[in-house]
Structure formats: structure tokens, C-alpha cells
């Protein structure tokens, strides 16, 4: 397991994406899957900064990964407020865009782009987000396309 801590601020996002895209390439994922990992970890880190820490520079984001023959395991830990995905409102993907409430896409992106997404929390260890991207796994789940 390789672990690097990044300061919880938006200027870290570039480095967090690069950290995981390098890992995804090492894992042998194809370029489209690498891009999907980048987007999923960016959304996860942005959510940590905005919601778990409630702003920038409140704590670190501990980023880890491991690679095995099945693909890439991503673990992101923070020490902010506990996060319960059950209480997050699902984005309304069907109604007219003009009427949709802003936000709520991060979790949808993570679940759609990764093969598994799990959250856990304990008072000492903070929030732990575990995601996997398998070699030959799904391209995108819950993909919606209404055409132009």
C-alpha cells in the first residue's frame, strides 16, 4: 500500500489526480478508465474538503492505493465530520436541467465511474472511502444519454 497525505485544499486536487492516474496506469487500466479514476478521486477529494472539513486548509487527505492482478484499490481518509452517504440526496437526473438543484453529482460520478464505492467512519480513524477500479471492469454504470 502506498500512502501520501495532501493538504485539504483545492490546489491539491491536481496532485491528487496525478497521484491516482499514475497508479491507474501502473495497474494496467486503459486510458478511458484512467480518466474515470481521475474524475472519481477529484470528486471524492472535493467532497472531503467541502463537506467533511467544511472548507479548505482544515485537515489532510490521506491518499492510498494498492495494485493487484484485479486492478486498482483506492483508499482516501480524512479526519473531518462523519459522512453518511445514506443521507445524501440522489441527484435528479431526469428533470429539466434548469430546475435541478446545484450539487449532488459527486457521489453519482463516483458510483458510476468506479466498480465499487464504500464509506465507513470511526471516531479515531475518521472517514474512510474505499473504491476499486477493476481491469476489464465496467466502463460506466448508470450512464444516461438523452442525445443532443
Amino acid at each position: 500500500m502506498i500512502t501520501v497525505s495532501f493538504p485539504g485544499r483545492f490546489s491539491s486536487l491536481d496532485r491528487i489526480r496525478n497521484f491516482y492516474s499514475t497508479a491507474a496506469r501502473q495497474a494496467g487500466l486503459e486510458e478511458k478508465a484512467v480518466n474515470q479514476v481521475e474524475l472519481a478521486v477529484d470528486e471524492a477529494a472535493s467532497n472531503i474538503i467541502q463537506h467533511a472539513y467544511g472548507g479548505e486548509n482544515k485537515g489532510d487527505i490521506e491518499c492510498s492505493y494498492s495494485i493487484d492482478s484485479s486492478g486498482l484499490l483506492v483508499i482516501m481518509r480524512d479526519f473531518g465530520k462523519s459522512f453518511n452517504p445514506e443521507v445524501v440526496k440522489q441527484p435528479d437526473l431526469e428533470s429539466d436541467v434548469c430546475c435541478r438543484e446545484e450539487g449532488g453529482l459527486g457521489l453519482h460520478f463516483m458510483h458510476s465511474l468506479m466498480d465499487s464505492v464504500e464509506f465507513s467512519f470511526n471516531a479515531h480513524g475518521g472517514n474512510l472511502l474505499t473504491m476499486t477500479k477493476r481491469l476489464g471492469g465496467k466502463q460506466e454504470k448508470h450512464r444516461i444519454s438523452k442525445g443532443a
Partner: protein
């Protein structure tokens, strides 16, 4: 992330480059606000050199579109989308909200 604006005869062309995430999306928002504050609501956004966009960036595009379309005074159209940018828009369900053109000439010509 950088944005260059050019006032054309019938619209304003905004050319963005780099990566649009939670850190840089406010800059794009601010440039678009400057343009619309001057009364320009017919906008072309060229994303050819944008190789990453997160949901934060996508909401900037949607909010700009809402503003431009208000009172039928204009529209924000997109051009030069790389596959990953198109995929992100699609995943968010935002594709139907934008006219998307292959190249800038077509996009500018749509006004």
C-alpha cells in the same frame, strides 16, 4: 486554467485551457460573469484545450446557460469537446441543455 475572451461581431468567444475543477471553476465563473455583466449573452465556449472538468466546472456551465437563456436573450454554446469532457457532461445529464459544435467556426456561425 486560463480563459481568453474575444468580442466577435455577433457573440463573445471564450477559449478555455487547462483543467476545470473545484479550485479553478470559480475563475471560469468570474470570467463568464464579467462578459454577461457587459450585456453579452451570446457566448461560444471553446473547450478544445480543456482536458479535465469536474462537476464543479459543469455547474458553472449550467449556471451560465441559465443566465444566457433568460428572457430569450442568448445562449451559451459549446465547441471542441474532448471525449472525456463530453462523457462528464453526459454522466451529469447536461447534454440536452447545450448545443455542441464540432468546431469554433460552426459555433460562432450559429448566432
Amino acid at each position: 486554467m486560463d480563459v481568453i475572451t474575444a468580442n466577435l461581431k455577433r457573440c463573445v468567444l471564450l477559449t478555455a485551457s487547462g483543467r476545470i475543477d473545484s479550485g479553478t471553476a470559480p475563475k471560469l465563473q468570474s470570467v463568464i460573469n464579467e462578459v454577461t455583466d457587459e450585456g453579452n449573452y451570446k457566448l461560444v465556449l471553446d473547450l478544445s484545450d480543456v482536458d479535465f472538468i469536474s462537476s464543479a466546472g459543469l455547474w458553472v456551465l449550467v449556471n451560465a446557460q441559465k443566465k444566457c437563456k433568460r428572457f430569450n436573450r442568448g445562449e451559451l454554446v459549446l465547441t471542441g469537446l474532448q471525449n472525456r469532457i463530453h462523457d462528464a457532461l453526459d454522466l451529469a445529464g447536461f447534454i440536452p441543455y447545450f448545443k455542441i459544435f464540432e468546431d469554433t467556426t460552426q459555433a460562432v456561425g450559429s448566432f
